[in-house]
């Protein structure tokens, strides 16, 4: 019995101070990312002293589609899945919007935006439904479906074309209130916040974390595991549709070929502190990670590094940061 007491440890005492330290540590990754981002800004200013508001604006516009992709991926990974259709769904929603807006009025474009967002939601829910009912691993189902949605995009629009309503493009082409805040950033935060903040506080959001953390424990706690997964995929589809619309905003047309967004989204969430095993992380980390990756890319361009080599550097930085972070987490857990 005495050894049992030993292994069991003592009641979780320690009081509130330990609690505060613990909760600080839990957001340590996010703080680290904020620090890294600020450091990168300083580095950028040192490399290119003229780096200012307009560069910041183009950075935000450029990062917008990747940011939506990362947020989309984060939602589904938190609930224990992975979605390889994100790039394809972005292409599909992008060309659908472009095709429908071609020749239409500005007012009609509002309907198109609503329709495209619903399309993303439905396509996502369909992804989730297939994952749940086939019981085939998520990665395989979504890989297969990524070809389906990419094909569907080509059916909608054979070659780049269509158009985008002026008001939609206007959403991101300026700065907000002061020159240092790009409109694209505001749009991103508002769009993500409107969906995620209420969800996070709801039982569904809690269920998503629960299912991602431990399916069996969640099931035993009375969570409808299948429905939760479908909902997570649907939200992912919604964010992917926002990504598709952001492509319309920045390019003004529809491009029926998926960009590199699926893999970039995985990279961003890993750097953003979302556990690929599910159940851990949030959306702020991935968002910060997207801007970190974009800034690194920009810095390498300013330094006149060969763009091909820049990709290599970007990959190495990603691996190193994640490794160091994982190592620190491990050290802490075993300590």
């Amino acid at each position: 019995m005495s050894a049992a007491a030993e292994t069991a440890g003592r009641p979780a005492g320690g009081g509130t101070r330990a609690g505060t330290v613990r909760s600080l540590w839990r957001s340590a990754w996010t703080f680290g990312l904020v620090g890294l981002l600020l450091l990168l800004f300083l580095v950028t200013r040192a490399i290119k002293p003229t780096y200012g508001a307009s560069e910041l604006e183009s950075l935000a516009i450029g990062a917008l589609p990747i940011a939506f992709a990362a947020v989309a991926q984060a939602v589904v990974v938190i609930s224990g899945g992975i979605d390889l259709t994100i790039g394809s769904v972005m292409a599909l929603t992008n060309v659908t919007a472009a095709a429908l807006m071609a020749g239409g009025s500005e007012e009609f474009a509002v309907l198109v935006v609503v329709f495209v967002l619903l399309l993303g939601l439905v396509v996502g829910a369909l992804n989730g439904l297939l994952v749940v009912i086939t019981r085939v691993p998520d990665i395989i189902v979504t890989l297969a479906l990524s070809f389906v949605w990419a094909g569907a995009a080509l059916l909608v629009l054979k070659s780049p074309g269509g158009s985008t309503a002026a008001w939609l493009k206007g959403l991101i082409d300026d700065t907000f209130l002061i020159v240092w805040i790009p409109e694209a950033l505001v749009l991103l935060l508002v769009a993500v916040g409107v969906v995620w903040l209420p969800l996070r506080r709801s039982r569904l959001g809690l269920s998503m974390y629960a299912v991602g953390s431990d399916r069996l424990a969640a099931f035993r706690s009375g969570v409808a595991v299948g429905r939760t997964k479908i909902a997570a995929y649907a939200v992912t589809g919604l964010f992917a549709a926002m990504g598709g619309l952001s492509l319309s905003m920045s390019t003004g047309i529809g491009i029926p070929v998926p960009g590199p967004y699926t893999l970039l989204s995985v990279a961003a969430i890993v750097l953003g502190g979302v556990s690929l095993a599910g159940g851990r992380g949030g959306l702020l980390g991935p968002l910060l990670a997207v801007f970190i990756l974009a800034l690194i890319r920009a810095d390498l361009t300013f330094l006149n590094v060969d763009p091909n080599f820049a990709t290599v550097v970007q990959g190495v930085i990603l691996v190193v940061v994640v490794m160091v972070g994982a190592f620190a987490t491990l050290r802490r857990r075993t300590a």
Partner: protein, 545 residues
């Protein structure tokens, strides 16, 4: 039985393919009683629990709660109808904090807090993620979460297994309070002492069937053990000729091939010591989850111990990888053959793998030597080679032979067998017994854990009994019949490890209860007695190490 049953399950059956997990299980729980559900390994207990709690659906049978039939299709549904389980493993979602876990199950926070304190856990920070809490606390929180919704029927599955004595005490008190409030508790435990201390009646399962319902009174252990054993118990144990002499011949002066000292690992293995001698088959007997899995994992090199020592041939050994254990001559035959075999590959490749895949064998494999060694092993084990191109097409028995053959072909020194005959036909079983004896006779040492107690006197020279992560008994296998082994495996007699406090306290509470209540004095009188009675009988065949 026509008395008012709060929960009544009748004729529950469940089969998985050809395997019948439950044949005809029934359970009747009265209002205000603590009901023990008992059964030896493989009796169907865990399947029954899963059906009662809605985790799986039965093929047949009815479950009535308060006289109304209900099909429980999910844990959520079972929860709403008033049956709340506390499972063997913690059920809090690890990445959520305690508060979020409560929200998930819609548990009232204040009631939960009160129960947590009543159960002896003070200063709990609800913002702590479940992952960071120690196992014992998680069990308590599971229980508090169940109690907070005031369930009609509370099902506790091995609730006390991971708890230290003082917390066990609080749990017992909470169960008594449920009873006083007219609610029912289904109590599953391997500890007879707790059953005796707290339960009113016990339902015993054997081979997927309910074979008896007994009132828990003085001397009930005997009855329960008898029920669990079935008709075999009355027959004398088959004695094996020759081995008795063998074990006499081996005196302690012989160097042990493997000696384990105060080994600790994981949360279940606390303190195990024994010697495995050259030319011996040493049996390990334990109920499920008493630390035997951890023991074999450590010896096979797939887990690291948290304390204690392992000596191989007198030299201390530490294994960081199964390859280290194999190099030291310790080879492992797991119960789950899928863990050991490459199912899509041939018999030949599977047998050759351990010695042909050694890293010092670069270059092309010497197929003629390999072929000879494999041929010898296949013949020796009489493996049916008609379907040898893919191991998965062999029968279970032949697959198990392949897992043993690979080590025989490599020249085995120490064989670790974990329930090697699980789910194997009787003839192959015999062959495997004979093989183990032959190997021992040829100078190998065999450590054998088996869940089938009748194997022990047939195969082993000595037997070590593990209960609650500790060695509680050691005896010559020749005299170890099933009742003796089972009694020892249940930790009867209590001996040094059993929480004497629980008995004393239970007796005291009982003494206090007996006077005012009057309705149940016969049931619980002298709770401390039966344990002490059986101490004599169970201890006699063996000797304490």
């Amino acid at each position: 039985m026509t008395d008012d049953l709060l929960l009544e399950a009748t004729g529950v059956a469940k089969r998985y393919g050809a395997v019948i997990a439950l044949r005809d299980a029934s359970l009747g729980v009265r209002a205000g009683e603590v009901h023990a559900l008992m059964g030896a390994n493989g009796a169907g207990k865990s399947t029954f629990v899963k059906i009662l709690t809605g985790a799986i659906r039965p093929d047949a049978g009815t479950i009535m709660l308060r006289g109304r039939e209900r099909g429980m299709h999910s844990p959520d549904e079972a929860r709403r109808t008033g049956l709340i389980p506390v499972y063997q493993e913690p059920s809090l979602v690890p990445d959520l904090d305690v508060h979020a876990n409560l929200t998930l199950t819609r548990t009232p926070i204040n009631a939960f807090r009160r129960w947590v304190e009543d159960l002896g856990v003070l200063h709990l920070d609800l913002r702590t993620p479940a992952r960071e809490l120690p196992l014992a606390i998680l069990r308590i929180l599971d229980l508090a979460r169940a109690l907070a919704v005031e369930p009609d029927v509370l099902l506790l599955d091995e609730m006390t297994a991971a708890l230290p004595a003082d917390l066990t005490e609080h749990v017992m008190n909470a169960i008594r309070r449920q009873r006083e409030a007219g609610r029912s508790v289904i109590f599953i435990s391997h500890r007879m002492i707790e059953i005796a201390a707290i339960c009113d009646r016990a339902t015993v399962l054997r081979d997927g069937q309910t074979v008896g319902v007994v009132d828990v009174t003085k001397g009930t252990e005997e009855q329960i053990v008898k029920h669990m054993l079935g008709p075999i118990a009355t027959q004398p144990a088959a004695t094996r000729t020759g081995t008795g002499a063998r074990s006499d011949r081996l005196d302690d002066a012989v160097t042990a091939r493997l000696s384990v000292r105060s080994l600790r690992a994981g949360t279940k293995l606390h303190d195990v010591s024994f010697d495995l001698r050259v030319g011996e088959v040493l049996g390990i007997v334990a109920l499920e989850g008493q630390g035997q899995d951890e023991l074999f994992d450590v010896l096979a090199g797939s887990a690291r111990p948290s304390g204690g020592e392992v000596h191989v041939d007198g030299r201390p050994a530490r294994f960081g990888h199964p390859a280290d254990a194999i190099r030291a001559g310790l080879v492992y035959v797991p119960a789950n053959r899928a863990e050991a075999l490459l199912m899509q590959r041939s018999v030949r490749e599977n047998i050759a793998l351990p010695f042909s895949a050694a890293l010092n064998h670069w270059g092309p494999i010497d197929t003629s030597t390999e072929g000879r060694r494999i041929g010898t092993a296949v013949n020796r084990l009489q493996i049916d080679t008609r379907a040898q191109s893919e191991v998965r097409r062999l029968s279970g028995g032949n697959q198990q032979k392949v897992t043993i053959a690979r080590w025989v072909a490599g020249g085995v020194r120490t064989l670790l067998c974990f329930d090697p005959t699980r789910g194997i036909d009787i003839r192959t079983k015999r062959e495997i017994y004979d093989l183990l004896r032959e190997l021992a006779a040829a100078g190998a040492a065999v450590l054998l854990y088996t869940s089938e107690l009748e194997e022990i006197p047939l195969v082993c020279d000595r037997v070590v009994v593990i209960f609650n992560g500790r060695v509680v008994d050691e005896m010559a296998a020749a005299g170890a019949d099933e009742p003796t082994l089972l009694r020892a495996a249940y930790g009867l007699p209590p001996g040094a490890l059993t929480p004497e406090e629980i008995v004393a306290e239970a007796a005291a509470v009982e003494a206090a209860n007996a006077q005012p209540d009057g309705s149940r004095p016969a049931t619980m009188a002298g709770v401390g007695e039966p344990a002490r009675d059986t101490e004599g009988t169970a201890l006699s065949p063996g000797s304490r190490p």
